[in-house]
């Protein structure tokens, strides 16, 4: 990388540069019907250079990749080509982050293991968690990743962070006399707690049995809907995307600072913070792609949009103090106690094809693969139904649980109650 930095520094038209290096080691295991089918390892390193050229009142930029085979002559050509491309780009000027150095590690117990060793340990926990008769895991894929990320720039940023993530994709299956059914499970984690993993998988095995037993209701369902963290992440991330600097700068945002996201809240008021790091959150990072140190910012308070967030460049374009690319979604707990969930009737969504959230069309809905209908005295697993509602009305009446959960990149209420939804 020294030669690259030297050549970039010597080029008369290069105003600034940034180099992103991403080394990835992974250990991956793929099981088919409980038996090992494929073992994978990756040992790769991406090196991407961004060249910035200030010309007239503009700043242009262009990127290229460096490969192990890239020679010095090719490097000179790549820099020349990048400069020519950057000169075509007439974007508003901005300043790169400056003068920050450091080596960081995002907290994780993964560092105690080699990726392949950890993958084997995770496999043991996953298969050991299935104790449901007639249930199996027809497909399990385990990915353990170690990322070493470095950002260097011409203004004195030189930072490296090591972070880990893992993903288990499992297909719990229940084989009954009449039919075989399955659910889809994707469990992401940044630190291994075997008991949590076992609880997650065991829960899914019980749910797939329920899907087998589920019926398509021959009675009308008209009751509140309960969503879990997977769907809540989708719902709240859609709000967060709208408040991103790039959405605001491109004028594609629906909400502006000061706008009420909940126009007339009748339930819990929504509060959202985006953070660089959060305990157990797989999106935790110390800095972003530009090398910006990551803190946190309150985006929604009392149901009202109060801030924007995003990258260095778009933050400066908007005249904001850039927050950096914050990726951990933290939603305030609500006021609903556990006891409130005991009373029926309500429909608790367990698995959907995918929650559709569309602020443009004021729509929320989707197809339900499994839900529990609590009629006040019984719990009936149901399938083959869909839900839909007017998003603005649903947000006004949303109730959020006091109890919180962390799920992948989401930290917030474990459950939400949606009213004014149609079940059909």
């Amino acid at each position: 990388m020294k030669k690259t930095i030297e050549l970039l520094g010597l080029h008369p038209q290069v105003s600034d540069y940034k180099i992103n290096i991403h080394a990835k080691e992974s250990g991956e295991l793929f099981f088919v019907k409980g038996k090992l089918e494929t073992v994978r390892c990756t040992d790769t390193c991406d090196k991407e250079v961004t060249v910035y050229v200030d010309h007239d009142e503009f700043k242009g930029e262009s990127q290229f990749f460096i490969y192990p085979s890239t020679t010095e002559d090719q490097l000179r050509e790549l820099i020349d080509e990048a400069v020519k491309k950057a000169l075509l780009i007439n974007n508003k000027k901005f300043e790169l982050p400056a003068e920050e150095q450091g080596s960081y590690a995002v907290e994780s117990n993964f560092k105690e293991y080699e990726p392949a060793e950890l993958a084997a340990k995770v496999a043991g926990a996953v298969f050991g968690a299935n104790t449901v008769e007639n249930a199996s895991l027809n497909s399990v894929e385990i990915f353990i990743n170690k990322h070493t990320e470095t950002v260097l720039n011409s203004r004195g940023v030189d930072k490296t962070q090591v972070r880990y993530d893992a993903m288990v994709e499992a297909i719990p299956t229940y084989n009954g006399a009449d039919q075989s059914v399955e659910l889809y499970e994707q469990y992401n984690f940044g630190s291994l707690k075997v008991s949590d993993l076992e609880k997650e998988i065991a829960g899914k095995m019980a749910e797939v049995k329920a899907r087998y037993e589920a019926v398509t209701p021959d009675f009308a369902i008209d009751c509140p809907i309960i969503l879990n963290p997977l769907e809540l992440n989708q719902l709240f991330m859609d709000i967060v995307f709208d408040l991103h600097y790039s959405s605001v700068y491109s004028q594609s945002n629906l909400f502006k600072k000061g706008d009420m996201i909940q126009k007339a809240p009748e339930g819990d008021v929504i509060g959202i913070t985006m953070a660089g790091e959060a305990e157990g959150n797989i999106r935790s990072a110390k800095f972003d792609q530009d090398g910006m140190s990551l803190g946190s910012i309150r985006l929604v308070d009392g149901g009202k949009a109060v801030n924007y967030y995003g990258s260095n460049r778009y933050g400066q374009y908007l005249g904001e103090t850039p927050t950096g690319e914050l990726r951990c979604l933290c939603v305030d707990a609500g006021t609903l106690e556990d006891e409130a969930f005991a009373a029926g009737p309500y429909l608790e969504v367990i698995s959907m094809s995918g929650l559709q959230v569309d602020f443009y069309s004021d729509y929320i809905g989707g197809e339900i693969r499994l839900a529990y209908y609590h009629d006040g005295s019984r719990v009936i697993p149901v399938t083959g139904i869909s839900i839909s509602g007017k998003l603005s009305e649903v947000l006004n009446g949303i109730r959020l649980s006091k109890k919180t959960a962390t799920y992948g990149g989401y930290m917030g209420p474990e459950k939400a109650v949606l009213n004014q939804m149609k079940v059909f």
């Binding site: 088919v32 090992l36 089918e37 494929t38 073992v39 192990p68 974007n91 869909s386 149609k422």
Partner: protein, 467 residues
């Protein structure tokens, strides 16, 4: 534009590595990928020339000793091949628990073949300056057409693919390109903001640049109508699907369920329906990289199997599925050329390519005229597969109400189709005599492993649940 000089420079090393690993493994192959993606974009405030997200350069080594498959992804194959082979082998020391529980014996085939493939491309005829000017001019033209546009984005993305596959008996290389152009308008009218898009795609840049500007009026009409769109009243309706929604049904509702790695895992209900009616007798469906020329057309797949053209449904009967090499071998069937990887860093799975229903004999206007009350559905938003249980979730951007056999001005948006796949496919009563495959899509397996795909077909008349 020609085949990657970098991959060519590694050809000898790849062969040497295969030779070294063959001393230890029954089957060894190496796939080298050099993919140059370029994205050129202009909106109201900014412009950009960047490497597209598909850019990659690397290798994946695949090995087997008649049971477990081993794969190692790396950046380069050069230097001491004995040492590299030892490093790769050393990475796969399995613990006792894993060793004891592996799949049954399976031996991958490696039939001899040496061949080079190339598809003509005009990418070299267009400079970044020309393409950036095109994006800026088209964006400006769009902005001048309506005062209601808050922002307009025009983007041209190109992909130049070189792949080299080496095994003990095969040496294949291919070079081809693909171009996607699209424009998006953020539009505010009638106190409502909508985002609309139109796209053009093909293997020649010249054709995409010609077609894209012709779509601006269609884009703006759609934007205007969507600001007036209402939610649909949930219910079961007669519908006509446009080629995009036809493709969505082919892809999401049925296509994922015939990816034969799901057969191996007992994840696909389709496995038990081969030879049975799964659709109306007027329904025919295909998939294949060689079926049509579109976004997922290649000459050989990432397992080194030549591209196929697979008839999946014939006259309503399920004929077969689509497979990668490992799945086909485990099932005792010939591979169909559908082994695809997101990149050289990811595993190969059975994946769709260009997936479509074949055209029929009905006229679109007669199909619309046959409906008393229903909707014509347009433009894919998204969909989700459920291969085991054949539940459907397909989301159309919008629908237009049909009353007394005529399209009205009543638009609804968005529209979610749900139900049970065979119910939908068996409800198809008319198939139009026109046909379009749209090559702008990408597809995940579950929520990952993204590859470029196309889908489409004729207009279909069916009866489905909408909400």
């Amino acid at each position: 534009m020609s085949f990657s000089a970098f991959l060519d420079s590694r050809r000898a090393s790849m062969k040497e590595l295969v030779g070294e690993l063959k001393k230890e493994y029954e089957y060894v192959s190496v796939l080298g990928s050099d993919v140059k993606a370029r994205s050129i974009r202009a909106d109201r405030n900014t412009s950009n020339i960047s490497s597209g997200r598909d850019t990659e350069c690397g290798f994946v080594v695949k090995m087997s000793n008649g049971s477990v498959f081993f794969e190692y992804s790396l950046d380069d194959i050069s230097g001491d091949m004995k040492a590299l082979a030892a490093k790769i082998s050393g990475a796969f020391a399995l613990n006792a628990a894993l060793k004891e529980n592996v799949i049954d014996e399976v031996h991958l085939g490696d039939e001899p073949l040496v061949q080079s493939f190339a598809r003509p491309s005009d990418l070299a005829d267009y400079s970044e300056q020309q393409l950036l000017d095109f994006c800026k001019n088209t964006k400006d033209e769009l902005l001048t057409k309506s005062e209601f546009i808050l922002n307009a984005v025009v983007m041209i993305g190109s992909l130049e693919v070189s792949k080299l596959f080496i095994s003990a008996n095969r040496e294949l290389d291919q070079h081809y390109s693909w171009v996607n152009g699209f424009m998006v308008a953020v539009y505010r009218e009638n106190d409502k903001v909508v985002q609309v898009r139109e796209g053009a795609n093909g293997h020649l840049m010249g054709e995409v640049l010609k077609e894209l500007p012709t779509l601006t009026d269609k884009l703006l009409h759609k934007a205007h109508m969507l600001t007036l769109a209402k939610p649909i009243t949930p219910g079961v309706y007669d519908v006509i699907t446009d080629p995009s929604i036809t493709g969505l049904i082919a892809h999401e509702a049925f296509g994922h369920g015939v990816e034969m790695d799901q057969f191996v895992k007992d994840r696909a209900l389709a496995k038990t329906f081969v030879g049975d009616y799964v659709a109306s007798p007027i329904v025919n469906m295909r998939d294949g990289a060689a079926s049509v020329l579109s976004a997922a057309s290649y000459f050989f797949d990432d397992d080194g199997v030549l591209a196929g053209d697979t008839q999946i449904i014939k006259d309503g009967i399920l004929v077969t599925g689509i497979s990668d090499l490992a799945s086909a071998t485990q099932l005792g069937l010939p591979a169909t050329g559908n082994g695809r990887r997101e990149s050289s860093r990811r595993k190969a799975y059975s994946r769709m390519t260009n997936t479509f229903f074949e055209k029929g004999s009905d006229k679109l206007e007669e199909m619309i005229a046959s409906i008393d009350h229903g909707y014509m559905l347009f433009e894919t938003s998204n969909g989700m597969e459920d291969p085991k249980n054949w539940a459907i979730q397909c989301v159309a951007e919008y629908g237009i109400e049909i009353v007394d056999g005529k399209l009205t001005d009543n638009w609804v948006s968005p529209v979610v189709m749900s139900g049970y796949v065979p119910d939908l496919l068996k409800s198809i009563t008319m198939v139009s005599d026109d046909f379009k495959v749209i090559g702008a899509g990408s597809c995940g397996k579950g929520y990952k492993e993204w590859v470029r795909v196309s889908d489409g077909g004729p207009a279909l008349k069916a009866r489905v649940k909408l909400g």
